[in-house]
């Protein structure tokens, strides 16, 4: 039986590898072999890979240079600051809004007015008003994550079955107990969905912010690579961003599983 299972999963793997190989081959053929007009400018996968692992990269950035990791550190640092701020503020505001009807009625219209503005439209204002471009970039990243978190937290509180509130009341809880024992754990699943989404938009806004404001980091490096004709560097950094995005959302999932062991165990059961 074990073998049957292996064959099955193996077939999945084998198709996945084949699919990816096909993708890389087509990319290679289009860019390097056929010499087609528009594709010519695009670096081919082999060149990109060579550059990525080279000890003496043309662009000065590869897996073996400090520059590469410095760029990563800048971007990761900004995302971390903005994202943690958005999580703390967004989750607590969302919880209170969901819990207290009056607070909700007063604050929700403001959220609804500010929310439709894409985070990136804040860039010019943020750069002009805030002290320093660095803070402006972090602010734009923050704003993106903030609204996603607040809205999902709200949804989470509203999704809690009314019976849990009644049961807690009838067992003699005071409002504080209800908040800690029902509102917070009950909305956790939605909060984590919100954080996942927030992470996605954060990275996107960060890249745009770095490109537009010209602050060091992955986004800037991508644009710099473009202006200096280091097209390999552009592709390398795109994939680096993809990997970082994937790792960060996997991290959130892992934390979520830890905090919501009841959900994980149910699925396991």
């Amino acid at each position: 039986m074990q073998r049957l299972k292996e064959i099955f999963t193996d077939r999945q793997m084998y198709r996945a590898v084949l699919g990816m190989l096909a993708f890389v081959t087509v990319w290679y053929l289009l860019t390097a072999v056929f010499n087609l007009p528009r594709f010519r400018q695009i670096p081919n996968p082999l060149a990109v890979l060579k550059e990525w692992v080279s000890f003496e990269p043309v662009s000065g950035r590869s897996l073996f240079t400090g520059e590469y990791y410095l760029d990563i550190a800048y971007s990761v640092g900004r995302t971390l600051i903005a994202f943690s701020l958005a999580t703390v503020l967004g989750v607590s505001l969302g919880l209170i809004m969901g819990w207290n009807r009056m607070f909700f009625d007063f604050t929700f219209p403001i959220v609804e007015i500010l929310r439709p503005m894409p985070p990136l439209s804040w860039i010019p204002l943020a750069v002009l008003i805030l002290p320093g471009v660095e803070i402006a970039v972090i602010y734009v990243t923050f704003i993106a994550a903030f609204f996603a978190t607040i809205l999902n937290t709200l949804l989470g509180v509203f999704s809690i079955d009314r019976n849990y509130f009644l049961a807690a009341k009838c067992l003699g809880s005071k409002p504080k107990d209800i908040f800690l024992n029902v509102v917070v754990p009950g909305s956790l699943p939605f909060i984590f969905t919100g954080l996942q989404i927030a992470m996605g938009v954060s990275w996107m806004s960060l890249v745009a912010g770095e490109i537009i404001s010209g602050q060091r980091g992955l986004g800037y490096a991508i644009y710099e690579g473009y202006s200096l004709f280091q097209y390999d560097q552009v592709i390398i950094y795109m994939f680096t961003l993809g990997i970082l995005g994937y790792i960060s959302s996997a991290g959130i999932r892992a934390v979520g599983r830890r905090l919501m062991s009841w959900e994980a165990r149910r699925r396991g059961a």
Binding site: Y164, A167, L171, G172, S173, D177, G186, R265, R266, A269
Partner: protein, 279 residues
């Protein structure tokens, strides 16, 4: 159980209760002029068509919702009226229709939640009491499980224990065994009977299952279709503890026929009314 009647509290008096939802808008009369008495330590089964307002009555007694007119007294004390609504209190415990064990707390955390949050006892003392309760009913070894890891039958029993540990005067159960299969239900009946006989207290038991109502109840209260009024009270004079062979007895069948007829009449009315409403 009658010997203990003196200490038992929890007599409920429901007087001319009317409940209208959204009086200015849709104006749904859920209950109209409903009155009846529940003696202390009595097991009352409430049956009636779905959506007839049984849960409305439960919410009023539990203090979850106000009523439009009338009064409800518990041991002579006013607990719900138009003028004054008394908040839910720990002397009345509710077991909910779809189950309201907190999914994010383990069985143990769920059971001791009440005593700890009320500040009555220390966590460790409550845990000891909870463990004892669980082992009394043969549910050892599930303390650290989350509710959703358990079958719905066990979940239901844990929820009943979570109510009982608070020593309430009244336990209200809103269709607690809905969705369980016949065999699981029989087990649940045995369980409920055992805890009831061990420490009789007022039970307010809403159900749709007539066998269950007669088998467990001192009396069966039949409600009319919406607006809910009292249709009939059937007193069940079977001896306690109830046993399964009673289900075939002539006395039982006679009771069942009586209840069945009354309920079926109301159910048909409710069904036709529902159909008209949809159209």
């Amino acid at each position: 159980m009658t010997t203990a009647a003196q200490q038992i509290q929890g007599a409920i008096s429901i007087r001319n209760v009317t409940k209208i939802y959204d009086p200015e808008g849709v104006h749904v009369v859920a209950m109209q002029d409903c009155s009846f008495e529940i003696a202390a330590g009595e097991f009352v089964a409430i049956v009636g068509p779905s959506g007839c307002g049984k849960t409305t009555l439960l919410n009023a007694i539990a203090g979850f919702d106000t009523i439009t007119s009338g009064e409800i007294h518990l041991d002579g004390e006013l607990i719900s009226s138009t003028r004054k609504q008394i908040k839910p209190d720990v002397d009345r415990m509710v077991v909910f229709q779809n189950g309201a064990l907190f999914p994010w707390k383990t069985v143990m955390e769920n059971i001791i939640y009440g005593p700890v949050v009320q500040g009555r006892v220390k966590k460790s003392a409550a845990a000891g009491a909870a463990r004892e309760m669980l082992s009394q009913v043969g549910l050892n070894g599930i303390e650290d499980k989350y509710p959703e890891e358990l079958s719905s039958g066990v979940q239901r029993r844990v929820e009943i224990l979570r109510a009982l540990i608070n020593q309430p005067k009244v336990v209200m159960l809103d269709e607690p065994f809905r969705g369980l299969d016949a065999v699981a239900k029989t087990v649940m009946h045995e369980f409920l009977m055992e805890v009831f006989c061990a420490a009789p207290r007022t039970m307010f038991f809403i159900t749709h299952d007539l066998d269950e109502a007669i088998f467990l109840g001192n009396k069966v209260v039949i409600m009319t279709t919406r607006p809910a009024r009292l249709k009939k009270i059937v007193h069940v004079n079977l001896p306690w503890p109830r046993e399964h062979h009673m289900l075939g007895s002539e006395a039982y069948l006679e009771l069942k026929r009586e209840v069945l007829e009354a309920v079926h009449e109301e159910a048909k009315k409710a069904f036709e009314a529902g159909e008209r409403e949809m159209a």
